[in-house]
């Protein structure tokens, strides 16, 4: 390691290739080989039912992703943001939430949406082009997808400041104390809004968990183009703790997120969780990852598959029988059918609906435009009505 007098270590050396496995600070509870390991800080007891639940959630989440990808290939969706490989990061985080917690997602949180009880069919509308998000954010405390990178980190922080002002933090009542989680990716860590969110959250000690899924790629740009230090270490510079968890390990992701959320609910302020994972597919269905990354990398990460390791663990320890696995497969098939049939049946919005909800109180100007266009359409003898 090179060192200049008085300036500390060369950060490029610190971040170098040794980090490919997440480095020494990676929190892990289940290895890629399906071995249960223990961690001094984040250990957690999981029942067989918990483990089967995680497995089922991840399988169904992967099915949402593969069905949606297929629907895009068949022209039913304009685009799809794939999550293949990130199932554990999303299910671990999603299952750690309580009903009163609030989620501010980016546009890839299909697994978290599923955990919150959002019908996955509702996710497809946005990618099909029939709406900007069909679910009511207040039904499940799951916000609408945010396309502008990192903008939602500030919304999450502001919402958390609202929770503080409502007195719903640090009361000790598990039904009342609430936290907020903001999801974003490694690319977003470069955005001003994410950094400003860190500053606001730290300054006001807001009950928010910043959950960064470091999937190594921001479209074609590798993590080295976003940062010269491991992302979780950034938190220290803002004055709150950061932790790197194996994002392909659903047990560890659950345990770490659960602890961070509880910290927030208890009034101890923000945490940055870096879920160290890998995007096995493309950024979206429009790009071609073979143009910018090595197949060797993909092969390396295939061995860390988040679902396979839980499956191995369940089987090896006799925690699930064939009937269970068959049942999950059947459930996934039913979900796939629901998405395929449901997607094709999603009605196109009526043209006149574009005028709806621009304002809480519609303006006269817009009313005139609306009526003018309606009258114009009527000249086509109802062809567009």
């Amino acid at each position: 390691m090179t060192q200049q007098p008085g300036f500390g270590p060369d950060l490029v050396e610190v971040f170098g290739p040794s980090q490919r496995d997440g480095g020494p600070d990676l929190v892990q509870l289940l290895t890629p080989e399906g071995e249960r390991v223990h961690h001094p800080e984040f250990d957690h007891d999981f029942s067989a039912e918990d483990l089967r639940g995680f497995y089922r959630d991840m399988v169904l989440t992967r099915r949402i992703d593969t069905e949606a990808t297929a629907l895009q290939r068949h022209g039913e969706l304009g685009i799809w943001a794939q999550l293949l490989g990130q199932e554990a990061a999303q299910i671990g985080a999603g299952r750690a939430l309580r009903p009163q917690d609030y989620v501010f997602p980016t546009y890839r949180e299909h697994g978290v949406a599923y955990c919150r009880g959002v019908d996955p069919l509702n996710l497809l509308g946005l990618f099909r082009g029939v709406d900007h998000g069909a679910w009511n954010p207040n039904d499940n405390n799951f916000g609408l997808y945010t396309i502008v990178i990192g903008a939602q980190a500030l919304h999450a922080t502001g919402y958390a400041m609202g929770i503080q002002r409502d007195g719903d933090v640090g009361t000790g009542d598990p039904e009342r104390d609430a936290a907020v989680i903001a999801h974003f990716g490694d690319g977003a860590s470069s955005q001003g809004d994410v950094n400003e969110a860190f500053i606001f959250a730290a300054s006001y000690n807001a009950p928010v968990v910043f959950f960064c899924q470091n999937n190594q790629w921001a479209i074609s740009e590798p993590i080295e183009r976003q940062t010269r230090i491991p992302l979780y270490q950034r938190a220290l510079g803002f004055g709150f703790p950061g932790v790197r968890v194996d994002g392909n390990d659903v047990l560890a992701t659950y345990a770490v997120t659960q602890a961070a959320l509880q910290r927030a609910r208890d009034g101890q302020g923000p945490t940055l969780v870096e879920a160290y994972t890998y995007r096995m597919g493309a950024h979206t269905t429009t790009d071609d990852p073979t143009r910018y990354r090595l197949s060797d990398d993909v092969e390396h990460w295939k061995l860390k598959d988040p679902i396979a390791r839980v499956e191995v663990y369940l089987k090896r320890n006799g925690l699930a029988d064939d009937a269970f696995f068959d049942g999950v497969k059947q459930e996934a098939d039913e979900l796939g059918h629901h998405l395929r049939e449901g997607c094709k049946a999603l009605p196109d919005p009526k043209p006149m609906s574009m005028f709806d909800h621009v304002y809480a109180e519609e303006t006269e100007e817009l009313r005139v435009q609306r009526e003018g266009y309606a009258a114009y359409l009527e000249t086509f003898e109802g062809a567009h009505s």
Binding site: G158, D193, F200, H357, E361
Partner: protein
């Protein structure tokens, strides 16, 4: 009972009243607490309402607006202060991509009852980025409403009406008028609705349209013109999005002539929109083309020559003469 107040005082009283009336109203911004804002518009509010309701923010405009979005989603009514017009641009993304679209995106399920206060315009001898007029940028964004007050009484009422609105309102305050003139406020007189324009001086020969800091200039021009035997009608637009064109059309149909003036650059400014609408609606009543008097299409210049940039009494009168010459 009436009180004599400045615009700064009117806004301060209006904010106080809104906070008393609704515990969900919060003020957020840089230096709004102990200092009372660099223009002292929030003077004394933190002392009386506490640090949880008058929130001194980190120095980050996108952060201020973006966290206010989250506050609004939680059911609060944030009033955000942008310290100077030229500093709103770091928050531009949050304003046009998030604040403006949240209601639409959510099919009306998520309201954005936010007010973004911006001291705007020039004439105070400030350095770069402290004298801009960004109104057209926001008026061009569906989902936002944009208003500009021009006098102390409007300041008092309009800020309360903007806070009460369930839509996000960009609230423009003419900073060179903050401490300029006093006016009688009689709270027993009911205010006009927020999104309306108003005839502030009646006349017969030409209609002069203005808003914010230029209303005073327009009124002075009308006074000077009267000395030359010309009768000018002056309309304070007050609302820029939506535009309230009813009183404008009515006036122009009578006078046959319209001149719109603003500090902002003429190219693609509010004047262009107002002119287009007058032409569409009042074509057969017009005796002259609609004329625009605005800031030149240059960046805001160094303050020693800002009086040449800003439309003044003489430039407005020159346009009136050109209009009357047709």
């Amino acid at each position: 009972m009436s009180t004599k107040i400045t615009l700064a005082k009117g806004l301060n009283m209006g904010l106080r009243k809104a906070m008393e009336d609704d515990p969900k109203v919060l003020i957020m911004g840089e230096d709004v607490g102990k200092l009372g804002g660099v223009f002292r518009i929030t003077d004394g509010l933190q002392k009386d309402f506490g640090e949880d309701r008058v929130i001194d923010s980190p120095l980050a405009e996108s952060g201020i607006v973006g966290t206010a979005v989250g506050m609004a989603l939680r059911g609060y009514r944030p009033v955000v202060e942008i310290q100077f017009d030229g500093f709103v641009y770091p928050a531009y993304d949050q304003i046009v991509c998030q604040v403006a679209k949240m209601h639409y995106r959510s099919k009306g399920r998520s309201k954005m009852p936010m007010v973004i206060r911006i001291p705007f315009g020039g004439g105070i001898g400030a350095v770069e980025h402290h004298s801009e007029s960004p109104e057209a940028q926001f008026a061009h964004t569906p989902g936002l409403k944009v208003v500009a007050c021009s006098n102390p009484v409007d300041g008092y009422w309009m800020i309360q009406q903007a806070i009460a609105s369930d839509d996000p309102v960009i609230f423009l305050e003419p900073k060179r008028q903050y401490h300029a003139d006093k006016m009688d406020l009689d709270e027993s007189v009911q205010p006009e609705p927020l999104f309306t324009s108003r005839v502030v001086k009646q006349g017969t020969d030409a209609t002069v349209l203005a808003y914010g800091p230029m209303v005073k200039t327009a009124l002075k021009a009308a006074e000077a013109a009267a000395g030359e035997g010309k009768s000018l009608e002056v309309i304070d637009l007050r609302t820029l999005s939506p535009l309230d064109m009813g009183p404008v059309f009515e006036s122009v149909r009578r006078t046959g002539r319209a001149i719109i003036t603003h500090e902002a650059h003429v190219n693609l400014g509010m004047g262009a929109e107002v002119s287009a609408r007058i032409t569409e609606e009042c074509f057969y009543s017009l005796e002259a083309p609609v004329l625009r008097v605005g800031g030149f299409d240059t960046p805001y210049p160094a303050s020693r020559i800002e009086e040449d940039f800003l439309p003044d009494l003489d430039r407005v009168l020159d346009a009136v003469d050109r209009s009357l010459a047709y």
